[in-house]
Structures are given as structure tokens and as C-alpha cells.
Amino acid sequence: MTSNNQDHISDEGKEIKVDDEKRAFVKAAFGIGTSLFLLSLGSLGKLLSFFSKQNLTKDQQEQILSEKIQRLKQTTDEQELQLERLSKDYILVAGLDSLSPIKGIYFIDYLMRPALAFSDDDGLPIVISAKCTHLGCTVGQNVDEQGRILCPCHMSRFNIKTGSPAAGSPAKTPLPRLGWFLMDTHGNILLTQNPQGKQSGTTDMDKLAGSSLYILKKFSGGEA
């Protein structure tokens, strides 16, 4: 359109060129002006409203506040557990008599992992981590007829006596066993077992009756 006109040096050509220039300027101004106008119309209000007060319904406000309180409670609970694990050399799990061979009792170990306590055939405790060695789900507390607990996430099964995963389980490493001791009401330590399973003390169930199960900091790599 314009290129043909630019080669003419006549007066008429110069007028046409000036018209071309004016036309281009007007179109340019119109285009950019419209664009800025539309942007301000559409966006400015929205961008400013980002910073304005949120109009929350009463239900929404209640929900937000109760969720915050729940989170604060969870944080407090977690930090209380951490404090306990920091300050105490041993932590009570349960009474020996309350342990069951088919349903484990959950507790939190020194490394802040979920763990389970069962009783073995001979009445002595089995204390095992309940953090699945596959992807960290909490393993279930119920023991099946083959002496295994099930992780519901990817169906790994672990033998509670050895911690080993069953064949075909996605988990490949056993659940670690935890060290523990049994203490009577007078504060006497009757039986200790380290994470490798080595015991020291009495295994006489008559003497152990009424004692309580504890986990030890020194067996958790969390020594002071």
C-alpha cells in the first residue's frame, strides 16, 4: 500500500505520504489506546480487589478459625511429644498385661515415628516400628492368622516377630524392631531387650506380671 507511494517525489506524492503517516499514527494510537483502556477496565478493578477485605460468610469464618485451632492443637501435641522425647530417657508404652497378640497398641517412638506393641506367644512384648518401609504409611494394628500386619496403602504385609515383609510386598526392607525394658511398680528393671533382640534379665512371667513396658532413648540413636 504505502511502499508504492514512497517512490514519488511529486507534491501529490508528498501529500499521500503525509496521509499515510497520519493514518498509521491514528491507527497506532487507536490500537494502543483501546488496549490500555480495555486492560484498565478489566484488570485494574480485579487487581485492586485482590488486596481488599475478603467477604467471608459466618460459616466460612467459623471453618477457617476452627481449622486454625485444630492445626495449633496438632502443633502443640507434636511439640509436647518432642519435648517428652528430648527430656526423658525412657517413655511408657503400656502395661504388660494390656498387650495383645492380635491387636497392637500404637505409640510414637523416639524418632517421632508411629510404632506398635504386641505380646508374643510367650507373653513377652514385641515392639516394632509402624512406619512402612515402602513409602511411610502407618501400618495397621491388626494381626492376621499368619502373624502379619497390613499396610493399607500398597498392601505390604509384615511379620510382627521378625518385621520382614511378605513375598510380593512392595516394601523390601523389614520394619525395624525397637529396644524396650519392663519395669515393676518399685522402679526395678526386670527385663531389657535391645533392637537386635538380645535380652538381659528375667523372663519368668510370674515375676513380670504387673510390670510396664517402656522404650529407651539409648536404643533409638537419640542418646544425649
Binding site: F50, Q60, R71, M112, C153
Partner: protein
């Protein structure tokens, strides 16, 4: 005495050529600046496009800063608040996420094309080195920003990445084998990824990296303006156009279209919808890890090789590439643009294959290994 002066003179000459402040005048910067026109001219727009997405990140990041809370108990909830209750909060957040991917994509494209066009040739070495630094900073932005929402994939992906760093120590001899572990603990701020990590990642993402980036970017842009656009192809280009106002205006057109594209993406597709929803639930230290945790897509080129090849091989490869990245202006000083283009194409092919097909390759290899 003479030698010392000679050395100093050489240094001054070097700096004089690399940062030619004598060209800092209106005539050179505005009136005479030309942009070569050739078959690779399209690549001249990539630097500006990267800058555009960076500016989008700065603006949307500042917006998000008004509501985000960098504590482990409230980070995730503050992001949910932005998403659910703040007017246009979800849009701003989604725009920030999409633009971050666009930024890193443009950053890599800009680096590859600058390499292919030999834009690092003397006297532009410092422009390249600054660019290489910003490439690393760009990835650091991605890595630090990813942790901030404190959801399952954020924390677990960060843990996995830092675990790789730790593992590299096993392959180092003697006393330096402990260094990676030490570095990991400095990055984490403690024995595990926790509040200390979140606080320092927040500081890095919002203050330290932006300041570093602005500084290096300033020097990079000034140098580009002082030197002008590099010739780009081996045969000296015959045609060129003026930088002001023609190239700049075309640049703005590209920015406009890019903004339209990223706007429609941000309105239309929540970035998180490409991933499984358990990834975005609040991180629970005492709970389960969801299946399939992996880093952001722009790390796949490094992540999948770590899963497929022997660890030491990948570490060696990455170290070599890292050194080559910064030493490019000197290592490839005599290489022709044709050869550089072939190298750039090979690197692009690797990046594309590993990013799109890394998962499939990993599954095949895992299947073969049994």
C-alpha cells in the same frame, strides 16, 4: 616491574573490551543499534521473553507475599486461603505457577540458542557467564519456591533432592566425603527438612535470589546494549533493522501474545490438575508419603538419569556439564556456529526425550532389571 604493569594493562584492556562503558552514549545505545536479520533472528526474542516472564513472576510473587505465611503450621493453610477466599487469588497463584514453567522453558531455549549462535564469542564472554549464573539462579528459584506451599510433594521432593546430594558424599575420597552432608545440613538448616528449611528457602526465594538476579541481570542487559546483538550466523548478515524502535516494538508484540497465552492457561487450567491430588495435601510428618513423588518437570533431565544410570556416572556427567557451562566462551572459542548448532540440537533432543519420556524409559529399565 614491567611484567606486573603488563599484567595489569592486559586486565584493564580485557575489562575495557568486555564492558565497553565508552560506548555508553545516546548515539551507540539508541541511534546506531542494529539487529541482524538472518534465519536465526527469531532467537533474538527469547532473551526478552525470559525477562517478560521474570517480571510476571516478580509482580505475582509480590501479590502472593501479601497473604503467604512461611511457617510449617500455616504455610499450606495460607495458600489454601489465597486459593479459596482471596479475590482472584487462585488466578494470581496459578499465573505464578504457569509463568514459572514458562520462564524456565524460555531460559533454557535462550541459553541453547545463544550457544548455537555463538553469542559468547569475544568480547561477549561476560554476558555468557552472567547468563550461566542466571540459569543456575533460575533453577534455584524453582527449587526454593517449590517448597513454600509445604504440601506432600513440596517437602518430599525437596527431601529426595537433598538426599541425592548427601549420597554423592559416598563417592568422594577421604575427608571431603563429609562435605556434601555438611552442605545439605546448611541448606536444610538442621538434620531434616523442617521450619529452618522453610525459613531459609523463603528468604532465598523472596530476597536473596531476586537481589542477586537483579544485579546480574542489570549487568547482563547493560552489556547486551553496549555490545549490541551478536551476528548470530557464520556468514556476516547483510540485512539488519534498528533496535529502537523496530525491534523493541516487535519485542512488545511478542510479550503481548505471550501474556495472552499464559493468561488463558492461568484462567483455564489449574497447574496442579496435571498431578495426583494427594500430592497437594498438607504435609504430615507423622503420616504417609504419597506414591509417585518426583521433582518439577524442569529437573527431570537430571532426576531420571539418577534413577536409571549409576549414581557416580550421573554426578560425573553433571559436574562436567557444569564446568563446560561456565567455561563455554573459552572451550568453544574456535568452534564454528554450524558445529555449535549441532551440539545445541543434541542437547535439546536429550532434554526433550528425558523430560517427556524419562518416566517411560525408567519403567522399561526397571522392568528389564526385574
Amino acid at each position: 616491574m614491567g611484567d606486573k604493569n603488563k599484567g595489569l594493562k592486559r586486565l584493564i584492556e580485557f575489562m575495557h573490551d568486555r564492558i565497553p562503558m565508552h560506548k555508553f552514549n545516546f548515539e551507540n545505545l539508541v541511534l546506531k543499534k542494529e539487529v541482524p536479520i538472518h534465519r536465526m533472528s527469531w532467537a533474538y526474542y527469547l532473551g526478552g521473553l525470559t525477562l517478560f516472564f521474570f517480571l510476571v513472576q516478580v509482580v505475582t510473587g509480590i501479590f502472593l507475599l501479601f497473604y503467604y505465611q512461611p511457617t510449617v503450621s500455616d504455610a499450606h493453610a495460607s495458600i489454601e486461603y489465597i486459593t479459596k477466599y482471596v479475590n482472584n487469588g487462585f488466578f494470581i497463584r496459578n499465573l505464578h505457577t504457569w509463568a514459572s514453567s514458562c520462564l524456565i522453558l524460555c531460559l533454557m531455549a535462550h541459553a541453547l540458542t545463544a550457544f548455537a549462535m555463538k553469542a559468547f564469542a569475544p568480547p561477549r564472554e561476560i554476558i555468557w557467564v552472567g547468563g550461566a549464573l542466571m540459569l543456575v539462579i533460575g533453577f534455584a528459584f524453582g527449587f526454593t519456591g517449590y517448597l513454600l506451599p509445604w504440601h506432600q510433594i513440596a517437602v518430599n521432593a525437596t527431601k529426595v533432592a537433598l538426599q541425592s546430594l548427601d549420597e554423592s558424599g559416598h563417592y568422594l575420597p577421604g575427608f571431603i566425603s563429609g562435605i556434601p552432608h555438611y552442605i545439605k545440613e546448611i541448606i536444610q538448616g538442621g538434620p531434616d527438612v523442617g521450619q529452618a528449611t522453610l525459613s531459609r528457602f523463603f528468604a532465598l526465594h523472596v530476597v536473596i535470589l531476586p537481589l542477586l538476579c537483579f544485579g546480574i541481570l542489570g549487568l547482563h542487559l547493560l552489556s547486551v546494549q553496549l555490545h549490541g546483538m551478536s551476528q548470530g550466523v557464520d556468514d556476516l548478515p547483510k540485512k539488519s533493522e534498528k533496535f529502537f524502535p523496530f525491534f523493541i516494538l516487535k519485542d512488545l508484540i511478542v510479550w503481548g501474545v505471550a501474556f495472552l497465552g499464559v493468561f488463558i492457561l492461568a484462567v483455564g487450567i489449574p497447574f496442579e490438575s496435571f498431578y495426583a491430588f494427594p500430592f497437594f495435601q498438607a504435609y504430615n510428618a507423622l503420616g504417609a508419603t504419597p506414591e509417585g513423588i518426583k521433582p518439577e518437570w524442569y529437573f527431570y533431565f537430571a532426576y531420571y538419569p539418577l534413577e536409571i544410570f549409576p549414581f557416580w556416572l550421573v554426578m560425573l556427567g553433571m559436574s562436567v556439564m557444569g564446568v563446560l557451562l561456565f567455561m563455554t566462551p573459552w572451550v568453544f572459542k574456535k568452534t564454528s556456529r554450524r558445529a555449535l548448532t549441532i551440539l545445541a540440537l543434541i542437547m535439546t533432543a536429550y532434554l526433550v526425550v528425558m523430560t517427556f519420556f524419562g518416566q517411560a524409559i525408567y519403567e522399561i529399565v526397571k522392568g528389564v532389571k526385574g
